[in-house]
């Protein structure tokens, strides 16, 4: 008989701050819904075989999250479906109260890790068509990532080419626990297609390519897995830089979603130092590793590192050597959601907040300025 007076929402924001949320999760509510977007052959396959991935947990993930479904316990929509699956509830709980100008959807449906490449590609088509019909065409504030069967770069590129012209898609999604480090040539067709369409590659926390998150095997606890994910991101940053991805695709950009950012300065220092000594090994690199990172990579804030002294965060940003590399994200509806009000330390300079909350993402994704558009109409 628990009684709630109403949905307790974040109070409507009074400040003039403008927000772009770079990491929101829309969830496929059920296989039945997805089936409507699958051709009969793959619908039958779904019933007969279902998800089969590279890791040993075909229908589960090895580390169940801190909360049911890894979500905020207040994010279950009243219609009884799973968090992130109900657009209206997302509007009510996130888009309206945060006064979001844009929100970018990253659907984590496991298309990328299917043993059957063609099934993975069919799932990707279904998920992307579902995103267009149920999200992008219904809500002008939302943008989305193209999901792809990324272990087969050819099929992945086909899918990028198929849907990239839809204006709602702003990037291509890969999860960092790939079969091989992402700089390897086996993935280059993906980068070629993305670059051709002017779309960045988004690398989002998760994925189960069969390798452990750590470089020394599977850990015991979820807390270890969650923290270790930063390692997976570091491996991808190093690999993309050192394999020459940004030399080969000079107009390609990437964004690391939910991998943290406090480690980035020390990684840049370390790579630059080694590059001075070992340059001969990678002679195709024409710039210092840190320059590729600063020039081609962005990082989202959530989960914000919470140092014991809030000012340390400002120091980290100073060490990044750029105030354009960070972009705000909530990770709604997941359990480690960051609210913009309390996540940033109170002494955070307003001009920096404005860049992180809004400017950096708007220019990274080349999103139209809504206020200018409104002024034009007048």
């Amino acid at each position: 008989m628990t009684m709630f007076s109403s949905v307790v929402k974040e109070p409507k924001r009074k400040t003039g701050a403008r927000f772009i949320d770079c990491d929101i999760h829309n969830e496929v509510p059920s296989s039945e819904v997805l089936k409507q977007y699958l051709p009969l052959r793959w619908r039958n396959y779904m019933d007969m075989v279902g998800l089969r991935s590279y890791h040993g947990f075909a229908n589960h993930i090895p580390y169940p999250k801190g909360n049911p479904g890894g979500t905020r316990t207040d994010s279950w929509p009243p219609n009884g479906q799973i968090p992130g699956s109900d657009l209206n509830f997302m509007r009510e709980q996130l888009l309206e109260p945060l006064n979001l100008e844009y929100g970018i959807l990253n659907c984590l449906y496991r298309v990328g890790e299917q043993l059957n490449d063609e099934y993975g590609a069919a799932l990707a088509r279904a998920v992307n068509d579902w995103q267009i019909a149920e999200w992008l065409d219904k809500e002008p504030r939302l943008r989305a990532s193209i999901v792809i069967p990324y272990e087969n770069a050819e099929l992945a590129a086909d899918e990028i080419n198929r849907v990239a012209s839809h204006p709602g898609f702003v990037q291509v999604l890969i999860m960092p626990r790939t079969r091989e480090p992402m700089g390897r040539r086996k993935y280059w067709k993906i980068y070629e297609a993305a670059e051709n369409h002017g779309l960045p590659i988004a690398v989002h926390f998760g994925g189960l390519g069969g390798n452990a998150t750590t470089s020394s095997g599977f850990p015991s606890y979820y807390i270890e897995d969650h923290t270790n994910m930063a390692q997976a991101f570091q491996c991808q940053v190093i690999s993309m830089v050192c394999e020459g991805v940004f030399e080969r695709f000079p107009n390609l950009h990437t964004v690391m979603l939910e991998g943290g950012f406090a480690w980035v300065p020390s990684l840049m220092w370390r790579l630059d130092k080694h590059w001075k000594r070992l340059r001969e090994e990678v002679p195709f690199l024409t710039r210092k590793p840190s320059e590729y990172i600063r020039g081609h990579m962005r990082f989202t804030t959530q989960p914000m590192e919470e140092p014991p002294v809030a000012e340390y965060l400002l120091q980290v940003i100073e060490h990044l050597g750029s105030d354009e590399m960070l972009m705000f994200a909530t990770d709604y509806p997941h359990w480690d959601y960051d609210s913009p009000d309390l996540t940033f330390p109170p002494k955070f300079p307003e001009s920096l907040k404005q860049k992180i909350f809004y400017d950096n993402a708007r220019s990274f994704y080349r999103l139209p300025d809504k206020e200018e558009e409104r002024d034009d109409v007048k």
Binding site: M1, T2, M3, F4, S5, V8, E10, G66, N67, R72, T73, D74, W335, D336, Y337, D338, S339, D341, L342, T343
Partner: protein
């Protein structure tokens, strides 16, 4: 009136059996009132960490350990876990268990008063979910009163 605190009637005692909660808006604040084994406690419905609606969280207990392999579960139903990042707060005091000095959520005083007492004091009550002046207080019922 005590310490200039404002009193609000949040409901009758029978409405809120042990283990249950009610979230009310009083004095411009959202507050959760909990019945823990017949005692009433009230906490601000806003998590001091990231602003979540704390009182919608799951009620649990403390898992304690003296070392690997040794686990015990104590204070069942007295620890409120935030719906977002699962920080744990003691429902009786509003203190977080891992950082009790710095991190605490505002706790409010609650008490149970008999309907007949309230009827006498009716005009002192402020508008809450129940408005004392207009809500007909039954003399033979007990009411949960929140002081903020």
């Amino acid at each position: 009136m005590l310490n200039n605190k404002q009193k609000y009637i949040v409901g009758t005692v029978d409405e809120l059996p042990p283990g249950e909660r009610k979230i009310v808006n009083v004095g411009g604040r959202s507050i959760g009132v909990f019945n823990v084994d017949g005692e009433f406690f009230a906490l601000r419905n806003r998590c001091p960490h990231g602003g979540a609606p704390l009182c919608e969280g799951v009620l649990s207990g403390f898992v304690q350990s003296k070392g690997r392999g040794d686990y015990s579960y104590a204070r069942k139903g007295e620890i409120l876990r935030c719906p977002w990042h699962q920080w744990e707060f003691d429902i009786k005091t509003g203190q977080s268990w891992f950082d009790p000095v710095k991190t605490r959520v505002r706790a409010y005083e609650t008490k149970v008063e008999a309907g007949c007492t309230l009827a006498d004091a009716g005009c002192e009550m402020k508008e809450g979910p129940y408005v004392a002046e207009t809500f007909s207080v039954s003399l033979d019922k007990d009411y949960i009163v929140l002081e903020i």
